[in-house]
Symmetry: D2
Subunit: 350 residues, 4 copies
């Protein structure tokens, strides 16, 4: 993972990186893949005496649990839902070990980058990003004000046990866990929706035309494996609404930090972005995640020669991608916000 | 509008541009804004003797219906749902005439660029892009195979009259038209969903990590005004599905054009992209469009000084953005496909 | 000409643009081409009430002196030194009228952009850019301290008459004018060197590896027609030097504006950049310009069918490109400095 | 080192990389730094079963000879000619160990990338890149036709001994070696010029305006440490020439490979690029390299507090950068040619 353009002087250590890397790590609970990776990052460059130098920041995380197993049963078959066929079509051949470049293993680097981005936005404007699981199958969490959800709620149940599904609505979280357990036993998988919220983001982030903040956030999330939909604010439900219902009313409030009066909206159906530019309200984005494509049950497919066959993707799959998606989605949002903040700061006259 | 990197030798004329510009044009029916713009493009550079030269293609389309009206009633007020406040916050002031750069007027240039992109993909691989209105309010069109919808169905009713809502499901189209008429009379607006389909796209378009085809398509669509959600294939409905239901089964068919056997999927829940790379199946993307923010009815808001006020955005608004969105969404999809095709062709060894 | 990312709130008018456009304009003296262009810019977008809005700034300058003359004598011949052949090879055909996109006519847009960039750097850090002619043929100007040369010296002789060659060394300027006159009468052309100096540039501009300031300045200058060499500081003469002669010694001086002590170098063989990053010393760059390729005398060449022929490029050519190059070179330097300053401001923590 | 967009299917091994890495390696002769680095690359991704996969190619080369020596004598001093001061000014502090990011150590990654690029251009169009030392101090090599110089001549003397200065003019090479030896004993350094030649490059590479081939080549070379000047073809000598002397005459020759007649120029003062686009003639570029800034003799400077002091940069410096520059310059040229070829192939209709 290489980051260019990171501000100099930010404290950064391997321990900082581990916080989110551990949230993404395989094997963290029974709900996720049981593959074992220590995910220990090595900072190769860009940090000196514990602070970022402003020059290229390179971090290396090695794969450790690459089993030298026999791939002969899948190397010439196209796994349904995977990129096997499209890589063959694009490149003429493929690295069939674990999906090669299309493996979601690459998201580990994004989470490391996300830690740096979270530091940038915290340092620059006190920004925070918190994600959680909003839906698994037909179970939909009720979360009240999205911006009120805390990392602690996402990670830990009120009784102190780990919230292994990362849903802050405790009863729904229990239902989700049961559902994922059931799906796993069925050798099946299940999809869901994650909601990601950025708070304390100043108004003004995002470019006016192509690089709207909503556009870059969507690209960042869609660049992740298994993301099949993205919406913000009211999203697809807006299709059902009339303008008179949808528009959020502006009002002015006394600035809690004591400065000039603050312009806010009474509701946040606009999800924190107007004209593609942050409004100062919480940014609320949702990503739809398809069910894991790898299944331990038999599926019909073809070989690369076009012959009919069946495939069983043995191995250690996540029955539901959502719990591990949360830190990955947070990372992508933090990266986009950090980038846009630096752009804004550059363009703005002192 | 400037395009760099367009292949040389493609026929291009003002008449070619008008085909889609006229589909986007204001005043085309009672369902859309009654503003009058001729939208006549002038090709400034990049075409010589009727063909593209391969160098920068510049096209100019002037605004003609800028009424020199009095903006004093809105220049210091923040229109709900618009970018007035966010532009003020970003830039320190704004061009209040018609929304300035945040005006959807800019999409006229995208449609012109889309015509060029459609030529590129038709020339390169026989690709086509057809969009239509899938949903207005709660009225959802049934369209069978998305790739079977024709431009003629989108533009014209079976009786030869213009399909002013651009929905190929005729009974639903009639309902949508009635709904939009009703909303317009209520001085209100309504949202909806557009579906855009690209056919005959070869497998292999899209980069493996950040510039996945799905990511660039999503960015392109989210860069448009009023788009609040994007999904492809099963999209958000995937959240409800199990992997065993969701995965599309591969099969091989005789190639209709006579070459080697063709790998296809029996269903297309994956929306034509696997691992972010085109699979050769139709690419099916949907965009959720919020209801028009400008309303002729009174709304509460504040001035830029934070004082409470009300606003009535008089003028000529689209009561529903969907009918005019169709050619704009098509343009963005064609542009992304053209870009990715050139990238693929560049990287692929001869 | 389109600029993205220009800071909002800078005053900008057509008159501002004309200052440098007039310095580049054809027909300004007997030393340059006698083609007639009014070079009147139209600001299409990005300025509101006399100030930049921060959104895309578009400026249009039309060609007016395109004579509808007969090109039949050159349309199938490759003019020596021109891009006729390479465009044919690249694109399969070319716009033979006046060189098409390869015409130096496009530099008019760069000069307009340069005016904006000069405003950005003047506003941000009081930066100035002044260029002049350093050499024509074997006549080399003596200029003492490059940073001491003023725009007035470049534009006007001590007696108030226009310095039509733009060389601040008055005796050499007279010699250059005589040489160019002679060359013109010989139906020939002559090369030269221009020196461009940026003053009051803060230390810190430029990225550490690929986007070094020297690299981007060189690219910007080499992107201009006829530039065949670029050097900064001692440049090619450094090849002859020993490190003990070449290195510039650092010293600290009282800051003239009253702040902390200033680090400077006693000499400026490093041309204002160390490690590719500005040092706070004047940035001194030179560009070598080849003699104009178009000649009114007969030259041997081939047709696009490979047949031997001769060509006489009738018309109105600059016998020496240097006098008009000065504002173009200044523009490119200002653009690069403005870009790098915005990058620096973005990356730097407040 | 990460490369994106490399074509799939090219053979690539660690051994391939070593060929050029060994040409750049420290300690290869008495003319260069005696630092010891094995420069053993590890291919982290992008190669499968000996061939490039088309996805990101990552190569890691570790530093091994970082002596944990005492930097206290230089950590607060600004070494003349180095980036110490400019990094401090830009970032607020710096990694003082060996220059941090400004160390020419980073060029090892460029050479590895250059090996890949050389494979791309050899595979795509039989292109080759050969560089050599053209000048050290006032000793200038005579090389006849630049494109006739072979890698063997650059690397080995006629008697089979290594050409440690990489100059193909044998008598001048001997003089250069003697000069560098003398300079080294004087605890001084010396500058020079390297010439780099690309052969068999098809006409058509390079974009018409900003991304001219000459512009990207210049940027690539100027992005290297110590490069202070770049020219191509006649370069700065063009300033002295008249158009009638400078223009290269076109002619047509029978195509040696049997196809249509070939357009060539009789001379190559244009250095293989016209209008910024390759002409099919050899591309000939020269880079001026300043004398090494690190000197073992005492130099005057200041501390970061602005106090006067002296500095002796003990250590293992190259008395002349030229011999090791050759493979680095070749790498940058190959990278730019590979990039532009992929762009050309993408844009060109099949």
């Amino acid at each position: 993972m290489i980051i260019d353009g990171c501000p100099a002087g930010l404290p950064l250590s391997v321990e900082d990186l581990l916080v989110d890397l551990d949230r993404r790590k395989p094997g963290q609970s029974r709900l996720v893949t049981q593959r074992q990776e220590s995910d220990t990052p090595e900072i190769l460059s860009g940090v000196f005496e514990g602070r970022t130098t402003g020059t290229s920041l390179a971090i290396l995380i090695r794969n450790e649990d690459q089993r030298s197993r026999d791939y002969s049963n899948i190397k010439d078959k196209y796994r349904p839902g995977h990129a096997d066929y499209t890589y063959d079509a694009k490149y003429g051949f493929r690295d069939y070990r674990g999906g090669g470049r299309s493996s979601a293993r690459e998201t580990v680097a994004r989470v490391a980058a996300g830690v740096v981005a979270k530091k940038v936005i915290a340092d620059a404007f006190g920004g925070t990003v918190v994600g959680y699981v909003k839906q698994v199958g037909s179970i939909v969490a009720q979360v009240g004000e999205p911006e009120a959800v805390t990392l602690a709620q996402v990670e830990t149940f009120p009784d102190g046990s780990p919230n292994i599904v990362r849903c802050p609505d405790v009863p729904r979280a229990q239902e989700m866990i049961e559902l994922i357990d059931r799906v796993r036993k069925d050798q099946d998988s299940i999809g869901g929706v994650s909601e990601i919220v950025a708070s304390h983001v100043p108004a003004g982030l995002g470019e006016p035309v192509f690089d709207k903040l909503k556009a870059d956030l969507a690209k960042a999330l869609f660049s992740l494996p298994a993301v099949v939909g993205v919406e913000y604010g009211s999203g697809f439900a807006s299709a059902l609404q009339r303008g008179s219902e949808h528009n959020d009313e502006f009002f002015a409030r006394e600035n809690p930090s004591g400065g000039a009066r603050d312009i806010r909206t009474r509701s946040n159906r606009h999800g924190g972005m107007l004209g593609g530019i942050s409004s100062g309200m919480p940014i609320v984005v949702r990503a739809a995640i398809k069910p894991t494509s790898s299944l331990s049950r038999e599926q019909r497919t073809v070989t690369d020669a076009g012959e009919e066959t069946t495939i069983v993707t043995k191995g250690r799959h996540d029955p539901c991608l959502l719990p591990r998606f949360v830190p990955i989605g947070e990372a992508m949002m933090a990266i986009v916000l950090a980038d846009h903040y630096l752009r804004l700061r550059g363009q703005r006259r002192a």
